[in-house]
């Protein structure tokens, strides 16, 4: 048996590659970027004008397509949306893949298009992979609302954003300031040094701290737990060793806050060093009850689904088209206005403490 033969076609292929590359006539990334910048911007908003006074249609079929089914967060969000659909006489349902992989949602979108749903409410696993299928859905007259995780802007009419970076950053400082009496050294336990979300929030925290009411508060350190439980735990330990007189810690990541809480609850600092940030009630319930954490925050996923449901109904009824400045009513949540790029902001995050934490299960 010769071992030489395998390389012959390989060499041929390699030669072919070099040849193609050498010719240089191909399509490169810069070509595509030039094409896209010269082409007129595609708009998802339909040509039909909005009629703000149109009543919500009855019997609207609204499908919720989360990143993943059987995920407690999305179950609550989608139940909120289905409940909203009941309120306005529509019919909501949740469908979706059991794995959160990038493209598993596409066949669901195609199916929903076949079922002639009135609206699809989607949290995209991959902002781009779902766009071609969503465009087909929109071409078939289906309204598309993204929630939680946005798609590329030409793949949906409206994005319901759970919280603005500014709100999250500022309210976390406010929350901690109340707990420590606007006085003392504070630290931040973040995810990774280059985590886009966290860094934006931290910028807003720093900006908030410049206000006069925080003049007695000092941000001494931003530590990074890399969203790793063990690392976050040791970083918390390290913070308290370097700054034994620390008054409070803000951890704007669910992994970080849980690890920090675990460290604090078994340390003499329990209840003395205040901890707040972003977390989920199920994860932190025990620490709220044992006094390690006074209060933390997160948006309410049920409200997120509820608002997305109303936005979908408003689109399907012709009240809005997704253009900036249009207004619609979202049941118990009140009035909303569509912002730039078709975004609707849910509002201020919900604060969880020992009085209300048992009302939430996610």
């Amino acid at each position: 048996m010769t071992t030489r033969t395998p390389w012959r076609p390989t060499a041929l292929l390699a030669g072919l590659v070099l040849l193609t590359a050498a010719c240089g006539g191909g399509t490169t990334r810069t070509d595509v970027q030039q094409q896209q910048s010269s082409a007129p911007a595609a708009t998802a908003a339909s040509s039909a004008a909005a009629n703000p006074n149109a009543p919500l249609k009855q019997g609207l079929k609204i499908a919720f397509l989360p990143k993943q089914v059987n995920n407690p967060y999305f179950t609550i969000a989608d139940d909120g949306g289905i409940e909203a659909a009941k309120e306005f006489g529509g019919e909501g349902k949740e469908v979706g893949p059991s794995d959160a992989s990038a493209s598993s949602q596409v066949s669901y979108i195609n199916t929903l298009t076949q079922q002639k749903q009135d609206a699809i409410v989607i949290s995209a696993n991959d902002p781009n992979a779902v766009v071609p299928a969503l465009k087909q859905a929109m071409a078939a007259g289906i309204k598309v609302v993204s929630y939680d995780s946005d798609t590329a802007a030409d793949g949906r009419h409206v994005f319901v954003n759970q919280a603005s970076a500014e709100d999250l950053g500022r309210t976390e400082v406010q929350l901690l300031a109340e707990q420590i009496g606007h006085k003392g050294k504070i630290a931040v336990l973040s995810a990774t040094p280059n985590a886009t979300n966290q860094n934006t929030w931290i910028e807003f925290m720093k900006d908030e701290l410049k206000k006069p009411e925080y003049k007695d508060m000092e941000l001494v350190k931003v530590a990074y737990g890399n969203d790793d439980d063990q690392k976050s735990f040791t970083e918390t330990q390290g913070l308290l060793r370097s700054y034994p007189d620390l008054a409070g810690i803000i951890s704007p990541t669910t992994v970080g806050i849980a690890a920090a809480a675990r460290y604090l609850s078994d340390s003499p600092y329990k209840g003395k060093v205040k901890l707040t940030g972003l977390g989920t009630p199920n994860q932190l319930r025990k620490f709220v009850k044992d006094g390690t954490i006074e209060a933390f925050e997160l948006w309410n996923p049920a409200d997120l689904g509820y608002l997305a449901s109303y936005a979908a109904a408003a689109l399907a009824s012709g009240q809005i088209t997704g253009a900036e400045g249009e207004k619609f009513k979202a049941g118990k949540l009140g009035d909303y206005t569509i912002g730039a790029k078709g975004e609707v902001l849910l509002g201020k995050p919900t604060v969880f403490n020992k009085d209300n934490i048992d009302d939430f299960d996610f």
Binding site: Q36, D99, N128
Partner: protein, 335 residues
């Protein structure tokens, strides 16, 4: 039947194989018929296009997987090869290479992945199950190293629309599958090479002593499997307009499921390509119809799993019964 039926065991097997494919065909027609009548939105051209398009990557990889499994080997690294090829595509695209040069490089990556599997299996004599479970993690890991969690999405629209385009109701990619399926079917069922694959799958030693170049054939089967996985990666990337390291996670199971359901014996030496293609379609139809009928995803996985277990169990029932009633036979009964 005009086949030589001198050996009763073989006659049994042939008949079972025929019957099995007949069964799959009946199931396929039955399920499609039920869906057409009972499920809203199933029987129209756009849904059929979706359905066909959704099975493209699985069908492509199932073609070579059939040959590999008939040769009594397995390649569990196909979906990871697909992922690695996608990552290479994204990485080179970001680096500014023209897409026309990237595509052959991707195929080359697939060939190298396959050759790596093939060398470990044929030259070092390692079991392909163990080797490809290893490379399953290796290739996927490499994909993440290259691309991390970023998605490369600014791919040329000319290619992305080509991947989703249709000729009438038939997606262009289905035409590609059909052409390659025809080639694979001819190779497997109408050439000396195909017969050699069957021979080495049913008894490697006998095949070796009758002059078949066992190792060389196996090596090239793994290379073919790798190339096909990277071809599937190109379809996948353009179809979803997104090159990511996690593209196609879990597809290897769908591919193996389709091949086994199609009547290919997991012990090698038995199976037909038409059977596998029908099984790919059957799984696609079941999935599509159940999703349209709002059946929950868990139930869907359950049904697919049930079909798979049935497909492994049914052809072996006879053998299991014989093994229980008679003393164990010498030779290859369990591999």
């Amino acid at each position: 039947m005009t086949t030589d039926l001198s050996r009763p065991a073989e006659r049994d097997l042939t008949r079972l194989a025929r019957r099995w494919e007949g069964l799959i065909l009946v199931l396929l027609v039955g399920v499609a018929g039920w869906a057409a009548l009972g499920v809203d939105g199933f029987a129209n051209t756009s849904n059929v296009s979706f359905l066909l398009l959704d099975t493209t990557e699985i069908a492509l990889m199932a073609l070579t997987m059939t040959l590999v499994i008939v040769a009594a080997e397995i390649d569990l690294s196909v979906a990871s090869t697909l992922g690695l090829s996608c990552a290479v595509l994204g990485w080179l695209w970001n680096a500014g290479l023209p897409i026309e040069a990237i595509m052959p490089i991707c195929l080359l990556v697939g060939a190298v992945c396959g050759a790596f599997n093939g060398l470990l299996v044929t030259r070092l004599g390692l079991p392909s199950l163990a080797v490809t479970i290893g490379t399953f993690a290796l290739f996927r890991g490499l994909a993440y190293v290259m691309l991390g969690d970023q998605a490369v999405a600014d791919l040329p629209p000319a290619y992305t629309s080509l991947a989703t385009s249709s000729i009438g109701p038939v997606p262009l990619m289905t035409v590609l599958v059909a052409v390659l399926a025809a080639v694979a079917a001819v190779v497997l069922h109408a050439t000396g090479l195909g017969r050699s694959i069957f021979a080495l799958g049913s008894n490697e030693e006998a095949a070796y002593f009758s002059g078949i170049r066992v190792k060389r054939i196996k090596f090239w089967l793994f290379v073919a499997s790798g190339v096909m996985a990277s071809l599937a990666s190109l379809v996948y990337t353009f179809r979803y307009a997104s090159a990511r390291a996690d593209n196609g996670v879990g597809l290897e199971l769908a591919v193996v499921a389709a091949v086994l359901l199609g009547g290919v014996s997991i012990f090698g030496g038995r199976g037909t390509l038409p059977g596998v293609l029908m099984a790919v379609l059957l799984l696609g139809v079941v999935r599509n119809a159940l999703i349209l009928a709002d059946v929950a995803n868990e139930v869907l996985n359950f049904v697919t799993g049930l079909l798979l277990v049935a497909s492994v169990l049914a052809p072996n029932l006879g053998a299991i019964r014989r093994r229980r009633t008679s003393p164990p036979l010498e030779g290859k009964s369990v591999s």
